[in-house]
Amino acid sequence: MGACTGMTEIITTLSANFQYLFVRYALIVGVLIALCSSLLGVTLVLKRFSFIGDGLSHVAFGAISIAAALNLTNNFLLVLPVTVICAVLLLRTGQNTKIKGDAAIAMISVGTLAIGYLIMNLFSKSSNLSGDVCTTLFGSTSILTLNEAEVWLCGILSILVIAVFLLFYHKIFAVTFDEDFMAATGVKAKTYNLILAVIIAVVIVLAMNLVGALLISALVIFPALSSMRIYKNFKAVTICSVIVSVVCALLGIFIAILASTPVGSTIVAVNIAGFLAFSMAGLIARRA
């Protein structure tokens, strides 16, 4: 059968590719980032902050361009704190403010993107400006050009995010489901919202390496939406989200390597296919 020979061919090519160190790095980092972003995706979708991934990634892009203009060797030191601060501001403006959540995100998102690009054009000493911009916005091959230090950093931050999520799992569920009740009964809802904002920012900055600034929202929301088509309790949705996200990221990286397509867009395309598959499965399961 055509598919069988196709599969064996693919498996041999893939295993041949595994010998390359940067491919192994890409897979490790890809899985970790997919894991982290899917964990938070459930909360973000339910809190109606789906687009925050986009907004924060543009902020990160702005911070990266400032770091490039200032010639900082490790731009993480600037990008991470700036993104965290913006995340906190954005998630706080969600309730009871003059500027509602989506308008605030739009302002910050578009503003930082424009200013970032402006600064890059004015001050950057890089010889390949459009290449740098392209890589930051779309991810391009940045996941395949990681060095060991970056992999370690990603690894440690991912493990921190996962640990925080597990420790605060019930609290995150509670403030997502009914924040007023939590505040009324003496649970420190504001603190947990703050913690949530910080880890969202960390995950966004990490995820930019995988899919680039413009595609991050997809990585965050598609796995959550896919699982919500089928499962109806929070625990199942979270676990399914993680599995879907990791599988789609792995498939996306493999396909990108084999078919020589941009990694970020391929992962998003696989996620979309997954969402469609789950939606159909959900429809059928409901009819049955």
């Binding site: 693919i10 390359y20 290449g131 091959t141 089928i230 296919a273």
Partner: protein, 151 residues
């Protein structure tokens, strides 16, 4: 239970669909068969080529002594300080928004520009990656045994 079965079925369908997208061709190469070439970049898919060359550029010490075969665009530039030409083979990433390259030295008595191909033509190089200490800095070159035009 039923939900899980339906979900798994659809995942299988998606995987089958994805399988149909394989476009690998398995060419063989005499040198590779003889085991002389350690790293054949010319046979890799586009996105891997770029990543591999970037990796060589960032971790040159790991590749010293390896026999590398690479295809890419030829480029040369003149360095006023050393009053000599530097030769490059350049590869781009799949979106062609970024480029990376390796410096090379063509073994034998070749003069620029007559003996060398035109700029931006595709060439194929086979050679050993080596370290050269030069005044002021360390450079890494692919010492090419052969340079031939490629499609």
């Amino acid at each position: 239970m039923k939900k899980t079965v339906v979900v798994l079925f659809f995942i299988c369908v998606v995987c089958m669909a994805v399988t149909g997208c394989s476009q690998k061709d398995n060419g063989t190469d005499d040198f590779a068969d003889l085991g002389i070439i350690d790293l054949d970049i010319s046979k890799m898919s586009g996105i891997m080529v770029y990543s591999q060359v970037v990796h060589i550029g960032e971790n040159p010490a790991e590749y010293v002594g390896k026999c590398i075969k690479i295809t890419g665009q030829y480029y040369a530039s003149y360095n006023e300080e050393t009053a000599s030409y530097y030769h490059y083979v350049i590869v781009g990433d799949e979106a062609l928004c970024c480029q990376a390259g390796l410096k090379f030295i063509w073994k034998g008595d070749h003069k620029y520009p007559n003996d060398y191909p035109a700029l931006n033509t595709n060439i194929e190089l086979i050679g050993i990656y080596e370290k050269r200490e030069e005044p002021g800095k360390t450079n890494y070159y692919l010492i090419a045994d052969s340079l031939s035009p490629a499609e």
